[in-house]
């Protein structure tokens, strides 16, 4: 793709800037009036035909203005657009959300998803990749009858939503013993190594084996190397492009999670990614996926992004993602 002249870029940017706001094809006269009063509309027109031939623009019909193409949006998002600084209100809103002490990294990314969706008003997706989870402590707490709460503390999170059934007559003494054994078994271990459960065999003590198996099951089911959360699924309804059915499909798909992974996953060295169109942005028509890499303490751990209409306020989204990602790093670095 040949490099565009400065003026072509200026004009292309003008088209997109206007189109993002008005949602109607922009004419040569519009560009002259709003951005370039010093050249005639005819001049702009001849540039427009060139841009159209290069694939950046298209006309819905002959007597209409121009509309940006997907590659134009990409160029815009990566190069042309102005960074839109966040307002003080936005900044403090974000900071506010993150100021509580949080023990679980899952809660952090949930919060991040919520704040991104709230502030941008698009659907948000946050991906957490984490294959370096070390167990710090495992504990069972007898609750009622023969049921115990299982608490698993890792370097990144506190799991406390699962239960295990205790054998009959399992009193506090046994529980204490079980806790000691559980800690011997699990503390300090990386979750990756647990695939091999042979080390369990050593503790073949009657009655305890079921508990150990139960805890292992819980760890395997709840600690995943990849987590993905979304928020604001229904925000898509605010954007009138596209019909009701596709909105419904959009929300259902997002809710089900399947495939979201591929949508937001990226090569690790891409800081800021924009995917547009049916091929790239899942099966969603007229949608774009914008995502940014975030790190915790320098290590690459995931991406945060939004899914919204192609005609999206990329500048603002860029700023929000940037800031939230920075916060994430600071918070958990």
């Amino acid at each position: 793709m040949a490099e565009l002249s400065k003026r072509k870029k200026e004009i292309l940017k003008a088209v997109i800037d206007d189109f993002i706001v008005t949602a109607t094809p922009v004419s040569s006269q519009d560009i002259k009036d709003n951005h370039m009063p010093d050249v005639s509309s005819a001049t702009i027109r001849s540039e427009l035909v060139a841009l159209e031939e290069m694939g950046y623009l298209s006309q819905p019909h002959v007597s209409a203005g121009r509309v940006p193409s997907n590659i134009a949006y990409k160029l815009y998002a990566n190069e042309l657009m102005q960074n839109k600084p966040l307002t003080k209100k936005d900044l403090s809103l974000i900071r506010e959300q993150f100021e509580d002490k949080i023990l679980d990294i899952g809660d952090v990314i949930k919060k991040a998803a919520k704040i991104i969706s709230d502030i941008t008003n698009y659907t948000s997706v946050v991906l957490l990749k984490d294959d370096d989870i070390v167990i710090r402590n495992v504990k069972i707490v007898g609750l009622i009858e023969n049921t115990a709460l299982v608490i698993i503390i890792t370097n990144k999170q506190v799991l406390k939503d699962s239960f295990v059934t205790l054998p009959k007559g399992f009193d506090q003494g046994y529980i204490d013993t079980a806790n000691d054994l559980l800690n011997d078994m699990f503390t300090g271990r990386n979750v990756n190594e647990l695939g091999d459960i042979d080390f369990l065999i050593e503790n073949e003590i009657i009655g305890f084996r079921a508990i150990f198996d139960g805890v292992l099951e819980i760890i395997k089911n709840n600690i995943k190397p990849e987590n993905i959360v979304t928020d604001g699924e229904y925000k898509i309804l605010d954007y009138p492009d596209g019909d009701r059915d596709s909105a419904k499909r959009f929300i259902s798909t997002i809710k089900q999670r399947d495939g979201l992974n591929d949508l937001i996953k990226e090569n690790d060295d891409i800081e800021f990614s924009v995917k547009i169109g049916k091929d790239e942005a899942g099966d969603f028509d007229n949608c774009a996926v914008v995502s940014a890499k975030y790190t915790l303490g320098g290590k690459e751990v995931g991406r945060a992004g939004v899914i919204g209409p192609v005609r999206m306020d990329y500048g603002r989204v860029y700023s929000v993602l940037n800031y939230v990602c920075k916060m994430l790093d600071k918070l958990l670095g």
Copy 2:
């Protein structure tokens, strides 16, 4: 309101049965063809004008068929409609959902909401009224640094999502003591009595007071006499009546919870309630709220319902709500 003749009821039912399926005004000829081949369309017409004068029907325009009014739907739901028995698949689907052992009543009503929404394909709302909660056990479990998980077990639920900060140097010995004291203070108490916290004063032991206050705070914030959960908020998109904006408003309102209470609350002796129209069904146009009372062990404890388009499959909804309510009673009775 004068009682309708048998034939008028039959005709009214025919109109609604057809309209629920076709969503188009139903004509006298339609009724003759599909329901009453033995009378002429003219006869049906004269009945229709009578029903129209009584307020049960209306015509969008003069050369259109009839459309049921809100009071017609109410009559239909309360008296006219046929009970639509659930399929075996539906029944086993519901039973399946409820067969896991669940410790927390909150989880039960969440599940109930999910299954109702899944099966009816409407938005569901489940209200839980419960002012008779007795604390069985309170426990803190030291986790990391100076943070402890607070576990509160009542006769209805297990709360385990809150933390309390421990004073410096608070080791396992102190935690054990704190647990003993907490149990002395809380076990056996009804949550209602906790408004008066004077009994706390006795335990004015240095360092412990902060923990007790923290736990009390957690109980007060998390055990509420009324809980409300919803599911399938976006199901409304499947129903084409009403525009996109109102769908958006619908979803936002449901998500925010405010006012849902009034929507589903009912006089305790109404088993099955149908609210229709802007006055009754919140601020939603073309929406109906159908709810049924459920009990746990004979005591009235809440209502389960759906919010959907006025043109709703009342028969099916009735059956689903009925069955789920019965399951709830059996499950926790």
